[in-house]
Symmetry: C2
Subunit: 120 residues, 2 copies
Amino acid sequence: MSNAKALPLLQPAVEPCCPPLTERPLTGEEAERAAAMFKALGDPVRLRLFSAVASHENGEACVCDISDVGVSQPTVSHHLKKLKEAGLLSSERRGTWVFYRVEPAVLATMGAVLTKAAAS
Amino acid sequence: MSNAKALPLLQPAVEPCCPPLTERPLTGEEAERAAAMFKALGDPVRLRLFSAVASHENGEACVCDISDVGVSQPTVSHHLKKLKEAGLLSSERRGTWVFYRVEPAVLATMGAVLTKAAAS
């Protein structure tokens, strides 16, 4: 977390979205950013896909590894795209396959918004 | 929080929804429950209202305290109802006003799902 340059493609999403929810009412802009991340996890199929990537070896998975959630391949691709747009996953093509990775810094930010709220 | 009987209406929502997201892929049922909570925070207006309650004195606020987010009173009521349905707020009528409270146990559960994922 000390070297932001290590995640050049994700800097906008990795910046803290907002203070802990108990600190003060969020501004409109803070709420827009934070809500977009929560919304990305607010769909059951998307959340299953996300946990499939997150729990895969090294927090990284190929589409071929995570398509057993009972929806079509285009639907899987759609949800993975949404997770990328929200900054929760990054992707990289390697030969035939696209690999997806969980972004721990973003998750930590989201978790802190909630758990600092819960602890105070 | 040591006396569960103080929150009789919220016990189902306070049960852990699921393991940390990195532990294993969520089942369909776990994903349904967890996604419903994330979805409740996935709207900017709802998130602003939620943070307004969470940051108010004692984590509790009257509707009269938190209506300055630029939407109509019926819209405020609609969003507060959604937050209640998701188990994130409880409410209590006191005379003329309904007071809303944040449920710290639910927030802690949601936070742990994310931050344990991030830490591993």
